[in-house]
């Protein structure tokens, strides 16, 4: 099956015009397959997670507030605005391609602009008002990931440490969504020159046909990729053991117990309440 749809431009040059729409199904099915496999794994094969040593002396633990803030209001607003925009974008983009006909372009580019704006906000907000580092995988994440995998496979390995603010899986997911999201958003921004908008004069000639071709292909690939990513994301959000995190994206905080169970106060220092301070590596 070919991945890219080519066509001859007015000068007879073969240029890519978009991805093969069959990829929509490929990625939709990939997403579903993942969650089914994962669900089965967790249900029948996965062992209970074990973490190295007691996280915190009971005294220190008691000192923690009952509710520990995980997401600021701004962060939560951003997340849900982005989520809404993303869903609108996915549906307006792909429903018509699979035969559900409606006038979709305007919804699509409006949602696109909202997504673009929220992404810009997020980058600024995350870089200057949040612990920017907390979301990126670090060395210990990788080491722990290795140990956890070995233990999961029944091999002997030291137990992993508890997580920082974000579990490794979150970080990985964020990383991928950043790549896909930026790709789709940047290409989408250019594509605004090709549709009727109140603020841009249509001009398909700002890029060469060949460049445009890759813009469209990239947009398409990232787009279908997001089908799978979003499916998986929603799946995890609904999984019982992850519900506290999902709730925290609504109410902003997690319980002290959940915190103690999953997180390493040294990697996610909350006592002082300043989320800005980096964790102290003291072991």
């Amino acid at each position: 099956m070919h991945i890219i749809q080519w066509a001859a431009n007015p000068w007879g040059q073969m240029v890519p015009i978009h991805i093969a729409w069959a990829l929509i199904w490929v990625f939709a099915i990939a997403g579903l397959t993942f969650l089914i496999v994962h669900a089965i794994w967790v249900r029948y094969f996965a062992r209970r997670q074990e973490f190295a040593g007691p996280a915190l002396s009971p005294g220190a633990a008691a000192a923690l507030p009952a509710k520990i803030e995980r997401h600021s209001l701004a962060a939560r607003l951003f997340h849900w605005v982005m989520a809404a925009a993303m869903l609108v974008l996915l549906f307006t983009a792909f429903l018509p391609k699979v035969g559900v006909r409606f006038s979709w372009v305007t919804y699509h580019w409006v949602a696109g602009l909202i997504l673009l704006a929220s992404i810009v906000f997020h980058i600024v907000h995350a870089s200057f008002f949040q612990n920017f580092g907390s979301i990126w995988p670090d060395k210990s994440d990788l080491a722990d990931a290795r140990n956890r995998t070995l233990r999961a496979l029944g091999r002997s390995a030291p137990p992993p440490r508890r997580f920082g603010k974000y579990p490794f899986e979150n970080k990985l997911y964020h990383l991928i969504i950043v790549i896909a999201g930026l790709a789709v958003a940047v290409t989408g921004a250019f594509m605004l020159f090709r549709v009727e908008t109140p603020f841009l004069a249509r001009n398909p000639y700002i890029l060469s046909d060949m460049t445009w071709g890759f813009v469209y292909v990239l947009h398409g690939l990232a787009g279908v990729g997001l089908i799978a990513l979003v499916t998986v994301h929603i799946y995890f959000a609904l999984r019982p053991e992850k519900l506290p995190i999902t709730k925290s994206m609504i109410f902003g905080s997690i319980s002290r117990d959940h915190f103690l169970e999953q997180h390493d106060p040294q990697r996610w220092v909350v006592s002082s309440g300043n989320a800005g301070a980096g964790p102290s590596r003291a072991d």
Partner: protein
């Protein structure tokens, strides 16, 4: 710095070989269409088809000529004053049919304004209403939105769009070139569409679709569908009609703008009216607000003038087709205040 490109050679002449089928029944035709799927091409009068085939832009494996299907020809008067026109009836036969001339002169006039005598002798009513757009970029075989690509060549800083849309454009700015289509919408015709699942009746108004809904089609006809007949109800029989076509040449030319109006006037006031303009959008453009606004009003210059302004209120001109606004405005005015001939 030289960009070197290998180009695929383009030749716009000589129909590529295909297999020709001449079924004698609709069922047969449908079975061939089913057998070949997207490789099949339905041939009615052929006037539109042969351009695509001779230009080698469309390359069907099988061409299904509907010319031998008797049940697709002829005009039948319906009980209650309507008529049913089978899809393969030639435009000439529509123009000359006494019942149509008597009760639905609007359609006869519209059909008579199409193309040339030879084409009306061969072109069918089904083909004329369902014909593809004449956007010269699209017809050049360029990969525009309508051709499944991702660009509109007509609406660019350099695009030549004198003939293009001022209403309902959505990425694609092509217009419907049909002369009979607006008459069908004005007369509230029903289009009978047959496929393997049976036959359904579609209102003419819904039969024609815009690029926002589906950018690659002009009508609801999908692969495997055949338009079998057009039913014109008695609703507007013998109403007072107005059809006018404005084109660069008085013969063998497509409308720059045309208008089809059906009115019922009594006591100098407009009681009922249907107003449809074509050549301004991808489908015949029904002027609902105008119809509402003028109903109950006297059919005079004033009403016409107001109607004209209202008609173009939402129109958005492109670089070279601003003149279509006053043209459409004036035609709407004429259609409203014209006294039946």
């Amino acid at each position: 710095m030289a960009i070197v490109r290998e180009s695929s050679a383009i030749i716009r002449d000589v129909m590529p070989a295909f297999e020709l089928f001449q079924p004698t029944s609709i069922e047969e035709a449908l079975s061939v269409l089913a057998q070949y799927g997207t490789d099949a091409w339905v041939l009615a009068g052929g006037i539109d088809s042969f351009d695509w085939l001779k230009d080698r832009i469309k390359r069907p494996k099988a061409v299904v000529d509907l010319g031998r299907i008797r049940e697709l020809r002829g005009v039948r008067e319906l009980a209650g004053g309507g008529v049913e026109i089978r899809a393969m009836t030639t435009l000439t036969d529509v123009v000359l049919h006494p019942a149509i001339r008597k009760s639905f002169k609007l359609l006869a006039d519209a059909a008579e304004s199409a193309a040339s005598p030879q084409i009306r002798n061969q072109g069918t009513i089904g083909g004329n209403v369902s014909q593809d757009t004449r956007c010269w970029y699209y017809r050049s075989g360029f990969p525009c939105y309508r051709a499944g690509g991702n660009i509109c060549y007509a609406d660019t800083p350099y695009g030549m769009n004198r003939e293009h849309a001022i209403l309902g454009a959505a990425r694609c700015v092509a217009v419907s070139p049909s002369d009979s289509a607006p008459a069908m919408v004005a007369l509230e015709a029903k289009m009978l569409v047959r496929n393997s699942n049976g036959e359904r009746a579609v209102n003419a108004e819904d039969y024609f679709i815009g690029p926002g809904f589906d950018i690659t089609r002009m009508t609801v006809l999908k692969q495997g569908d055949i338009l079998t007949a057009i039913r014109i109800p008695s609703a507007w029989a013998n109403a007072s009609f107005y059809f006018e076509k404005i084109s660069d040449r008085p013969v063998w030319d497509f409308p720059i703008v045309n208008i089809a109006a059906a009115k019922v006037i009594s006591g100098g006031k407009i009681r009922r009216i249907r107003l449809v303009v074509n050549g301004v959008a991808a489908h015949p453009w029904r002027l609902r607000q105008v119809e509402e606004a003028v109903t109950g009003q006297p059919a005079d210059e004033q009403t016409g003038a107001r109607a004209g302004e209202l008609a173009i209120a939402d129109a958005v001109p492109l670089q070279h087709n601003g003149f279509k606004l006053p043209l459409m405005r004036n035609l709407v005015k004429r259609a409203i205040c014209a006294t039946p001939a």
